[in-house]
Structures are given as C-alpha cells and as structure tokens.
Amino acid sequence: MKLPTPLIELEKLRVDFGGSGGRRVRAVRDVDLTIYQGETLGLVGESGCGKSTLGRATVRVTEPTGGTIRYLGADITTLRGAHFRQTRAELQMVFQDPFGSLNPRRTVADIVAEPLLRARRTPRPEARRIVDDLLDQVGLGREAGTRRPHEFSGGQRQRIGIARALAPAPTFVVADEPVSALDVSIQAQVINLLADLIRERGLTMLFISHDLGVVRHIADRIAVMYLGEIIEIASRDDFFAGPAHPYGEALLSSVPTLSRQPRRERIELTGDLPDPAAPPAGCTFHTRCRYAVDRCRTEAPALTEVAAGRQVRCHFPLLPVKGPA
C-alpha cells in the first residue's frame, strides 16, 4: 500500500448560518478531516447533520466561518482572485438534484464547457473537443451536446453533471448524494460510472450519502457525521464489520436488508436529531444513546484514534473485536 498523501486537510472547520430571530445554526462544528490522494471518502449521517455544508465548505462554495482548508499543503481558506481560480478548477462538485443543478436555458455543451472556459481559460475549439470526449466518456454521446437538460432523464442529467465536474480535470470532487434522487436501476448505472471514472482518472472524492449501501460500494473510508461533528472515521471494511460509535452501530442496524433470515438485533434509536441550533451539552449523541452515562451528559468526548486509521468521538467506543462470525 502506497504511503497516503493528504490532498485535503480540514482543520477546525466551522460553518455557521445566521438564522432569523438570533437563531444561529452551527452546521459544521470544528471538523478536522484529512482526505488522502486517490481515496474516496464516504460521508454519512442523518439528514440535516451538516454533510452537504461540510462538502460545500471544503470546495468553498459555502464560505467557512472558521478553521482552515489546506489543499496539497497550501492554505486555500481565504484565497482570492486569479490564484483561487486556478485552485477552483482542481476542486469540483457533483450535485444531488439532477433537475436543479443544470441551467435549463443552456445547451449541454455550454454547461460542460463553462468551467473549462472560465476556470481553465481553455480556448474554445479545444474546450469543444474536451467536451465531446467527456460526453462520450459519461455515456451520453457527443450529439447530446446540442440539446438542453430538460430533454434528458434524471440519470442522464446526472451524467451531464458528472461531465461538467470532470471537465476542468479536477483532482478532487465532492459528490453530494449524486444518486439519491435516482431510481435503483438508474442508481446502479451512475455508481458504476463514478467508480470507473475514479479509477481511470485517479480522482480523490468526498462521497456524501445517507445510503450506507451505496457508500459501501464506492468508498474506501467512511466518516460518520452527527450534528455537525465527525463522530467516527474508519476504513470501509472496519466500519461495516462493526461501527465503533453507538450511533454508527444504530445507523447500520436500521438499514432494512434484503435477506430472508431473521435480521440481527435491530437497535432502534429513540427520538430525532436534536435541533442543530441548540445542541445538547456533553456528547451530542447522549440524548439518543442507549449506553449513555452521566459523563456523557456533561463531558464532550474528543475524536480520538482507537485503532490504526480509526477515530471515534466517544467515551466508550464499541471496540470491533469480534464480528458476528
């Protein structure tokens, strides 16, 4: 295994949203996260826990309120102007909504060419050539370039979105639930396409999803988010063998499975995700944790390394010593 080089390093990254009536939502709270070159990091968590915000802040489409973002060791948190445009091309994003992420008034070729023309300042004829190749690569065919997004189905649109993200030849892509709006049969097509592209281009990816099954098929490592914090980071196999955080445990056990056998013990969480504007004191998960003790209610645990490459934010991590065999 080659020595992992950090590509993206997030340090104490924080995003606040000022709401109405003095309501402040801290969507991302002091996240430390390293994404290594060539890996796909799967980010999972409940709706509203801050996955998208973290993803967006990483590529700075949402400006972080605090902390630093390093790209290849360079601080890009406050980079502006031409320098930033250079970096911009390296960091791209695929969006969830195949309808809202494509400008309905522009042709597919225009949409895909835009980052080439702007961020890369590629001359038009050259951009045209790249776009044609890309459209072929994502399986739409170059003829698709003259048409407009509304003429395509959801899955095809998602391919357009992927082509656009790949156009400036980025090194890092945030994929924010790229398949969750698609039907299962189409989902599989797109996941396969992404997996191929990652392999062919050596992409590094932050893959956001709430579907553990999807993440399992594409990610190398898994990061679990809860209420704006990363609570567990583990390699894929370690995680699916048995999460170390009680939340991860519950999450995994809640996924309905396609198996005939009576399922393993189902750990049902009580209650909902707390209000992100007023997170509980101590461990943020203690309100729903079946193992919670007094310490959890007062003292916030830190994200600590419990095993090689495995970090957990819990006073009492569930050590993944034994599987169900």
């Binding site: 109405s20 009536g21 003095g22 309501r23």
Partner: protein, 345 residues
C-alpha cells in the same frame, strides 16, 4: 410564544426607523418643489401698489419668519427635532397647527380607505373564490375579464362619472364632503361612527354612510378587480396543495375543505397584497378626495402642493406614509397570526 412577541417587538421597533427615513425623504422631496411660498405670501392680496423693493424685502422677511433662509441642514435638524416631538410645525398660510390639521383629516381618510378596503375585499373575495372554484368555465372567464377591466378603469375619471350618475342624474347620493353642512357635528374622536356611539347621536350614521359610499366605492373598484385576481390565483394554488388532498382523503365535504383549509391558507398571499394595495388606496384617495371635496389627508396634501405650503405637504405625506407603514405592520402581525410557520423565531 416568546418568539412571537420578539417578532412583534422587532417589527414595531423598526417603525420609528422607517419614519425617520421617510421624514428625510419627505423633507428633501418637498424642498425640491419649484416655487417658494414666500413670494406668494409677500405679493398675495396686495393691491399691486406695493413696490418691487417692498416685495423683495417682504419676501426676505417672510423667509426669515418661516425659517426658509436657514441652511438646509439646519432646517432639517429643526424639522427632525420637531417631528420627534410630534410637532409637525404650522402651515405657512395662517400658521395652522399641522398636527391639528392632520387630527381632523386623518380620521376621514382612514374611514374612506378602510371602507374602500372592506368593499374591495368583499367583492374581490367573493368573485375570486367563485372564479377559482369554477375554474375554466365561463363564470371564471367572465369574472376574470370583469375583474381586469375594473382593475384597469381610469380611476381618475371614475369619480366624476359617479358624481354625474348618482349625484346629478339620480340624485341618490350627495357629491361632496363627509357630512351634510347643515348637520351639527362636534367631533370627539373625529371618527363619525365612533362619535355617533359615544355622543349617542345615531342620526349621524346614515348621512355619513351616504357621503362615504360613493368615494369609497370609486376607490374600491379598481382594487376589487385586483383582489379578485389574487384571490383566484391563491385559492387555485392552495387547491393544488397536498394538504387539500389530505382533507379530501378525510372525507370532508367541499364546503368544509374550503372553509377550514383553503381559505385560511390562501389568505396569506392575499393579506400581503392587501397591505401593499392599501398604498394604492391611499394614493388613489389623493385624487378621490379632491374630486369629492372629501376632507381628508389627500385633499390637504394637494392643497399643500398647490400652495407650496411645505409643512402641510411634509405633514400630510408623512401621515400617509405613517398610515401605510402601520397598516403594513398590522399586515405583518396578521400574517404572524395566520401563519404559524413564521412564529418560529
């Protein structure tokens, strides 16, 4: 509900700021009006025998007396100081106390615009709901067409037409004023209806209504057409909402669905529009009041503009803007009452 009160307080707290800004705008706007009252005063009523030197001297003297010779910032400071003390100054022509003038005129304008609003809402709601429920039928088309026409009526000519038809030809309605001149009315609150109750003079009410109906309807007509459109659109919109389907799923009758689910929810956009439309009503009242010699703020304003009587223009414009702002505060609060979603502070 503390959040709700917080919102209310915040909304109300903004009013003085808005008024400050409005006062500034009014001050600036009024001072850009061409012509000065001083010359008019200086030469007014003179038998033409006074010499030019006299008039020039007199103009300067009047300017000084009215404070118009001071630099604008100083005039502004004085003006603001006075506004804060609810002292809107006194009229150039005869030194009437503006606050007093507004005290007379504002209730009349409020009566007029509120009556117009009620008429418009009544007509607009009924027709709008009807059109929405009968969408696509000839009733819908007809309602929409009539609504659009009434919305587009040249409001400026409408009052005159009403006067000719109902005042002169049919002689059903009086054409000027707010109450018959022959009637003794000693205002207490200056709201006739209220005074009729407080002073136990029910005989005031009928003539008052007679005087109110024509200007109010004139004002209301164009707005009614507008409300029809909005009501129709927003009822249709709500009819397409999922919770209406839920209501149907419950087995409710169409009437119950309309009453309990559609109306309240579709009133949200309507209420907003009403707030904004109140501005048109106030604007329209400027003209309507002139046509009907109706003793309101609009009339006052027009006179003020014609005479270059700055304090009156300032006061009247400020009063209209204040009224409008307050109505919109009320609308916001109403909105808050109607839409619980907004209460989450």
């Amino acid at each position: 509900m503390t959040g709700t009160w917080w919102l209310v307080v915040k909304r109300l707290a903004a009013v003085p700021l808005v008024l400050l800004a409005l006062s500034t705008m009014v001050f600036v706007a009024v001072r850009t009006l061409p012509g000065s009252p001083a010359t008019g005063l200086a030469a007014g009523g003179s038998s033409g025998t006074s010499s030019a030197a006299d008039i020039t001297a007199n103009t300067a003297k009047i300017n000084a007396a009215l404070g118009l010779d001071k630099p604008l910032p100083e005039q502004y400071a004085t003006f603001l100081g006075d506004v804060v003390h609810l002292d809107l100054g006194s009229s150039f022509y005869g030194g009437n106390d503006i606050t007093g003038l507004l005290g007379d005129a504002l209730p009349a304008t409020i009566e007029l615009t509120v009556a117009a609003m009620l008429i418009a809402v009544l007509i607009g709601m009924l027709t709008g709901i009807l059109a929405a429920l009968r969408r696509g039928t000839w009733i819908d088309t007809a309602t929409r067409a009539i609504g659009t026409v009434s919305f587009s009526l040249p409001w400026f000519a409408l009052g005159v037409l009403g006067i000719v038809v109902f005042g002169v030809w049919l002689r059903w309605l009086p054409v000027i004023g707010r109450l018959p001149n022959a009637l003794d009315y000693h205002p207490l609150t200056n709201f006739v209806l209220l005074d009729a109750i407080l002073q136990d003079r029910p005989e005031l009410i009928w003539p008052w209504l007679q005087h109110l109906i024509m200007p109010a309807t004139t004002l209301a007509l164009s707005m009614a057409g507008f409300i029809t459109r909005i009501v129709r659109a927003s009822v249709l919109e709500v009819l397409g909402d999922d919770f209406v389907r839920t209501a149907r799923m419950k087995g409710l009758s169409p009437g119950a669905i309309l009453r309990r689910h559609v109306l309240r929810n579709s009133s949200l956009p309507i209420v907003t529009v009403l707030g904004l439309q109140f501005g048109s009503l106030l604007g329209g009242s400027v003209v309507t009041e002139t046509v009907f010699s109706y003793p309101g703020v609009g009339n006052l304003l027009v006179n003020g503009i014609l005479q270059r009587d700055y304090p009156i223009v300032q006061g009247a414009a400020l009063a209209i803007a204040l009224l409008f702002t307050l109505v919109n505060v009320v609308v916001d609060l109403l909105y808050l009452a109607l839409d619980p979603r907004l209460r989450k502070a």
